[in-house]
Amino acid sequence: MKKAFASLLVLLVALVGSAPALAKVHIVSTLQDFASISQSIGGDLVEADSLAKGYQDPHFVDAKPSFILKLSKADLLLAAGLELEIGYLPPLIDQSRNTKIHPGSPGYLDMSVGCDILERPTTQVTRAMGDVHPYGNPHYWTDPNNGRVIARAIAGKLSELDPPNRATYEKNLAAFEAKLAEKDKEWLAKMAPYANAKVITFHRSWPNFAKHFQLDVVGEIEPKPGIPPSPTHTLEIINLINSQKIKVIMVEPYFDLKTPKYMAEKTGATVVTAYPSVGGLPEIKDYFTLFDHDIDELVKALKGGGQ
């Protein structure tokens, strides 16, 4: 068996050839939203893939070895930052054997840079506050203005990594921004009649969305971020819904509907499954259909029709 070890060592040396250069820019993002936007900007010049699915809780993604394979081939890694991926991304990057995508390298892009980040703590944070993010709320891509910042950052990075195709990236960016501006007008118009409507959310995933579309989040089903609802807190929220005549409870697709449905039964409010990310449903295939879906469902519920 000692000879077997020597053979394995020789085999390892023989296997150390490097992969051939690839024509397309390989992008891996943690969230499907960034992959979708980068595909819009890169078109046929890029291949974009994501680690987390749109219907998955982005805080709890497993660091599966199959993700190491994806990252090992990546030219560009798009991360949400603000410690959203702290539970799985750092070990995956270390094991990727791909220095191009290490933080600080040209192939690592923190999408939060330049975005409007809300709820940055201004006092000492402790875990007595629940699963708080000390650098601010990481669910910032739910604001179309931040989507625009993200698209520009991706276009800039692609131009840097692939200068010969800079004109294409800039053209695609212009088209993306034009469509986003047009769609945003449409979304804002749909939401305008419900300006300052009060809503309950399950988790603090929606401050950027609420700010942009003028919703007033008055409470969360979680008593503290990451802490499941308790009976006392559930009763408090039911009283809040009744006293303030709140019509909508927004729930991300990865949370248990038992408590929200119980609250809805007791109050007459409508539970809306709101998707924070692209890919949450088959029809939510890009950044535009994400808002199309969520806005339509919200408007339906705010009108009083329910879903």
């Binding site: 296997l15 394979l69 923190d110 601010g136 802490i227």
Partner: protein
């Protein structure tokens, strides 16, 4: 002779791999041409002129404006950039297309902490009741507190230290540098580490689904902590289509508590593992691995102990409800061939466990374990256990275990263990 070959190969290979980034960098620094030198001289002269002009302007300003009072020590002179914008303020203008977005600046008081390692402490309280005459645990103990320091060293490496504070004293459970920028897709660790022998042996106690190590680990790897050794490790990912496979080769010092004992300094221990991981479906995956290890056991000058391990882990976790429902099935088979003064003893052991997450914070599990003793395979330990675990949050865990063990000496132990684990400090990666 074989050991000499292994040692020489490992040393040469390791040295080449570790030095190659530095050599490559040196090779890329070609000598400057005379034209480049002239160009640089001109540029330096221009810069000197600019500095002189700026200095003159600064002197003029200093002479005409009052001296500002110095800021209090540790108090930033400007509000931190991380503060939220005032209520009603317009959203910040989106930046133009920039090749490299620049992170927001921070105050000087924060920069002093930038390079400190992430620090975390995990306390592990263990209480035991019932009967056990063979391997009794104390009624209550802080059986292990793990203190971790982790940081990136430089663009080529990161460092991880895990100190285990038990009531008896402190041990370096692990302390290693990982070289993440090696050529040819290699990853190397150097230092003291949990050996990649099987799956459970690589895991720290606080991420196991039990408060104890299974019997084959304790009996065949020599002690309660498993096999921890000091040396060097190289690994290479060998993709098989979309299937992840990895080859790990490791060489260590020839001493390991209860397992290896080297008569000579040059007698090393070795381990190799080949691992395959594949996603069966979006919700299920399979992890398989085979490990082979050998090292001197010190009974005679040339006697070895050879170890084999085959492990499998099956996971089911529907992504949409991943934080509420999941299931993990684990199994490991270990074999030890221990050279004695006369002949060799072959001992086998295995364990299997199943853990089901029935709600966001609740897990239930069961385990069966059996192991022959490495010195006498006619003697055998076995046991069954059931666990119930409650996680109030990611950082706190209560676990109860009913454990029944049948020891080689016919002692039957019936015990109830209560484990409470609590973590403070930096948020580490979720175990997988």
């Amino acid at each position: 002779m074989t050991r000499l070959f292994l040692r020489t190969s490992a040393t040469l290979f390791g040295a080449l791999a570790l030095l190659s980034p530095v050599l490559a960098q040196q090779a890329s620094q070609a000598p400057a041409t005379a034209q480049e030198v002239d160009s640089l001289r001109t540029e330096v002269a221009q810069l000197k002129e600019q500095v002189k002009a700026l200095q003159e302007k600064l002197d003029l300003l200093m002479a005409t404006s009052p001296t500002p009072a110095p800021a209090a020590p540790g108090v930033p002179s400007q509000p931190p950039t991380g503060a939220p914008p005032p209520e009603g303020a317009p959203p910040p203008e989106a930046p133009p297309v920039s090749p490299t977005p620049v992170p927001a600046s921070t105050t000087s008081t924060q920069t002093s902490n930038y390079f400190n390692p992430s620090i975390s402490v995990i306390g592990n309280f263990l209480a035991a009741g019932g009967s056990n005459d063979t391997a009794p645990l104390p009624a209550a103990s802080l059986s292990e507190s793990e203190v971790a320091f982790q940081a990136v060293v430089d663009p080529y490496a990161r460092a991880d230290f895990f100190f285990s504070y038990a009531e008896k004293g402190v041990e370096v459970e692990e302390g290693f540098a990982t070289f993440t920028a090696l050529p040819w897709g290699l990853l190397s660790k150097v230092g003291r580490m949990r050996v990649s022998f099987g799956k459970v042996n690589t895991l720290h106690l606080h991420v196991l689904p039990w408060p104890d190590e299974p019997l084959p680990i304790v009996d065949l790897l020599g002690n309660e902590d498993g096999w921890i050794a000091t040396g060097v490790s190289f690994s290479k990912v060998i993709p098989l289509g979309n299937v992840y496979s990895e080859l790990i080769l490791q060489a260590f010092d020839g001493h390991a508590d209860g397992l290896f004992d080297a008569p000579e300094r040059s007698d090393l221990s070795y381990n190799g593992q080949y691992r395959i991981f594949t996603d069966l479906t979006e919700s299920t995956n399979l992890d398989l691995g085979y490990s082979y290890a050998l090292g001197p056991n010190g009974i005679t000058d040339s006697s070895d102990t050879r170890l084999e391990n085959f492990y499998t882990v099956f996971r089911w976790k529907p992504l949409r409800t991943a934080t509420y429902r999941s299931f993990i099935l684990r199994g490991e088979y270990l074999r030890s061939h221990k050279d004695e003064a006369v002949g060799s003893v072959r001992s086998d052991g295995w364990f299997a466990s199943a853990d089901y997450q029935m709600a966001k914070r609740w897990w239930v599990g069961g385990r069966y374990e059996v192991s022959e003793l490495p010195d006498d395979s006619t003697l055998e330990d076995s046991g069954e256990a059931a666990t119930l675990t409650f996680f109030p949050s990611e950082f706190l865990e209560f676990r109860g275990m009913y454990r029944r063990r049948h020891y080689f000496n016919d002692d039957i132990a019936n015990e109830f263990l209560l484990q409470i684990q609590f973590a403070i400090g930096a948020h580490g990666a979720h175990p997988f």
